[in-house]
């Protein structure tokens, strides 16, 4: 009997205490934010520009971020979030990163052996890394380490290659590359120019057999509105990209469909 009375009294007193605290200090959590937090992917990649998924959810709940900013969400989730927030959903273009260089060890000349920290940004501090083409990929993997999805592979012949099926287009690698070789491009574009050197064609040829030499054959093939020349470098118009067939026109292989270049071409 004592047990029952004691437990009852204890329960009543504790309940009262909790009741008072709730009454005076209780806060109501934002239910919208909690729901959003369940919907966001939770990878914390930072691709949206906020501090992790939680920050993004909070920003969306406050209305300061758009549902389409996350590169990871599929369209269904975006639709759901839009419905939750009561905003119109926008059409998104899935982006993918490409490394605009073909200068692997089979094609591009290395002028010196680099001895030091295995990182492109560190190598840049030592006579520019020792690659003949001062615009080429150093292949030491700063981008691969920056990629939260493991989508960038450093090939054995020292060039970074993005695997489009793993890439979500978060853009972290773009900032990590000291030579600014990585570009975000629409996933739908079939061909890319895998060269970034603005040098004259003859000078490029000296160091790299796979460079864009500015021969304009692709421009003739596809037309000015699809491929244009930016100095000695061909540039794809990504608003109106040419189809895959134009790659056959390129004599060096700089313009091609796949990121990996067959080593037979060199």
């Amino acid at each position: 009997m004592t047990t029952v009375i004691l437990l009852t009294v204890t329960g009543l007193v504790s309940g009262l205490a909790i009741g008072i605290v709730v009454k005076f200090y209780g806060t109501t959590p934002n239910p919208l934010e909690e729901k959003l937090l369940e919907l966001v992917p939770g990878a914390n990649c930072g691709g949206c520009g906020f501090a992790g998924c939680e920050g993004y959810a909070k920003a969306m709940a406050e209305g300061s971020a758009k549902p389409g900013a996350c590169p990871l969400m599929n369209d269904a989730v975006v639709q759901e979030i839009c419905a939750l927030l009561g905003v119109e959903s926008e059409a998104r273009k899935p982006m993918v990163a490409i490394v605009c260089c073909s200068g692997d060890d089979d094609h591009a000349q290395r002028m010196a052996f680099y001895n030091g920290v295995n990182d492109c940004q560190n190598a840049m501090l030592v006579a520019g890394g020792g690659k003949g083409c001062v615009y080429g990929c150093l292949g030491l993997g700063s981008c691969a380490r920056a990629c939260p999805y493991g989508a960038i592979e450093i090939r054995p012949n020292h060039i970074a290659v993005v695997h489009p099926e793993l890439c979500v287009g978060c853009g972290k690698c773009v900032l990590a590359c000291p030579r600014r070789l990585i570009k975000l491009t629409p996933k739908s574009a079939p061909v890319h120019v895998f060269c970034s050197s603005p040098e004259r064609g003859a000078l490029k040829r000296k160091f790299c057999s796979a460079a864009c030499i500015g021969c304009r054959k692709c421009v003739k093939e596809a037309g000015e509105d699809q491929v244009s020349m930016n100095g000695a470098l061909a540039a794809i118009n990504y608003d109106n990209p040419p189809d895959a067939g134009v790659a056959a026109a390129c004599p060096t292989g700089a313009l091609r469909t796949t990121a990996v270049m067959e080593s037979t071409r060199g």
């Binding site: 002028m111 010196a112 001895n115 030091g116 920290v117 295995n118 990182d119 940004q121 560190n122 840049m124 501090l125 030592v126 006579a127 520019g128 890394g129 020792g130 001062v134």
Partner: protein, 441 residues
């Protein structure tokens, strides 16, 4: 003689100054010169000549762009064959002019000589700026910027740096022996511009002949010569000031904060030339040395002489070098091409053979603490490098990475052969970028 103080740490590498008894030689005029328009820290100069223009020796080729910049002058007379780019020692392409010499070496009309005893500091500064003088110690900071300290900072002591603590290099040593009077004049001009009362020349005591010559040259003008203990990096600005004056440059500060200014002896000689003779800076004394060379020595090279020409003058090589270094072995930059031209800051060209090669390894730090003991800045390079490997740059900033002077003592002593200096340089770049981003916000 001034009582000298010892800075903490430092190392004593093999001196190897084989060319110190070889007098400076004037090389013959070459067929072409590749003159880079950026030979200094700051904005590159803007070309004022075009392809096909006829130029004379000392004529202005590029004018300074902005305050931290310096003009570039023609090393000889000839025709501008091309406006192009060339590879600099840092591995980047820099704008350059290819000058084809006509072999006559005809001088342009020199700037009028100035009587520096009478001229105002402003006029003198302007002349130094017009002559394109930059620090010849290695960093190539435009001298006129250094000579224009903020008005609230009074400089009372001018220190001439004749230490040349880098192993192998002997250019400053030879210059002091052969042009002592000009160095003294240059120092006095600098002191007049700054209003400095005291001039001290710091020289390491492994160069007794230079100490003697400079002491005699400076005796009449009240210039003191301080004989310094042989310890690398004795010639680093902060360590030199401490050794001769006992003052410490505050962390993150400049020598001007404690009323000092350090100038290389070569810069002083160039100032004397510019002011007294009206001659712009288009040549410099450079040591070409290294075991693979046939006959190492010191030459007064015109700016734009390529490394291959310099090595030819030194008799070529006996064996293939494994490393070519622009500058000294401790702080110089490794280069991979012989087409790089000598610029105003090239203090030496050093060739290393295979058995002298330092092989860096990415092996763990065993925390022996030698870097700690040898760091002249009292930092902890070992701990810093581990932090930097993990990309903890904000942490490295807290552990004073920005105080690093990149002297290389830590990597020299590291038994695990870790590339410590490279780590530290990377961290400094990252911290600077972060600071800039913060300031921009």
């Amino acid at each position: 003689m001034i009582k000298q103080l010892h800075f903490y740490g430092g190392i004593h590498p093999v001196e190897d100054k084989v060319a110190q008894s070889v007098p400076i030689v004037e090389p013959p005029i070459l067929e072409t010169y590749m003159v880079p328009l950026q030979q200094h820290i700051g904005a590159p100069a803007k070309a004022v000549v075009a392809k096909g223009d006829q130029v004379k020796r000392g004529q202005l080729l590029g004018e300074a762009q902005g305050f931290v910049s310096a003009p570039v002058h023609a090393p000889t007379s000839g025709v501008i064959r091309e406006v192009t780019t060339c590879l600099g020692p840092s591995g980047a392409q820099v704008p350059a002019l290819l000058l084809a010499s006509d072999g006559e070496d005809a001088p342009a009309d020199p700037m009028p000589a100035i009587d520096w005893h009478q001229a105002s500091p402003g006029d003198l500064r302007q002349r130094i700026s017009a002559a394109g003088i930059v620090g010849k110690g290695g960093a190539a900071f435009p001298t006129v910027v250094k000579l224009s300290p903020p008005p609230n900072k009074k400089i009372d002591t001018l220190i001439l740096n004749g230490v040349e603590c880098e192993p192998c290099l002997t250019a400053d040593h030879r210059l002091m022996l052969e042009r002592a009077a000009d160095i003294v004049t240059g120092a006095q001009i600098t002191a007049r511009i700054l209003g400095a009362k005291k001039i001290i020349i710091g020289i390491e005591n492994n160069k007794p002949d230079a100490i003697e010559v400079m002491r005699q040259a400076g005796a009449d003008y009240g210039i003191e010569v301080c004989s310094l203990r042989v310890r690398y990096p004795q010639g680093a600005e902060k360590q030199l000031i401490y050794a001769v004056t006992g003052r410490k440059v505050p962390s993150g500060g400049l020598p001007a904060d404690i009323g000092c200014l350090v100038q290389n002896v070569g810069t002083a000689a160039a100032i004397a030339d510019a002011v007294c003779l009206g001659k712009p800076l288009y040549e410099r004394v450079t040591t070409v040395t290294g075991t693979p060379l046939v006959s190492p020595g010191n030459w007064r090279f015109r700016v734009g002489t390529t490394y291959s020409e310099a090595i030819k003058l030194a008799g070529g090589v006996k064996e293939d070098p494994i490393k070519i270094i622009s500058g000294g072995p401790m702080m110089g930059m490794a280069v991979y091409s012989l087409d790089i031209p000598i610029i105003k800051s090239t203090s030496g060209i050093l060739l290393l053979s295979k058995d002298e090669l330092t092989q860096f390894a990415v092996r763990p730090c065993i925390r022996c603490g030698r870097c700690n003991d040898s760091c002249p800045m009292g930092m902890m390079p070992g701990i810093l490098s581990v932090q930097i490997e993990n990309q903890r740059y904000e942490l490295a900033e807290k552990w004073h990475v920005m105080d690093c002077i990149e002297c290389g003592c830590c990597a020299y002593t590291c038994p695990a052969s870790r590339p410590l200096v490279q780590h530290l340089r990377r961290a400094k770049a990252e911290v600077q970028a972060a600071r800039r981003a913060k300031a921009g916000k």
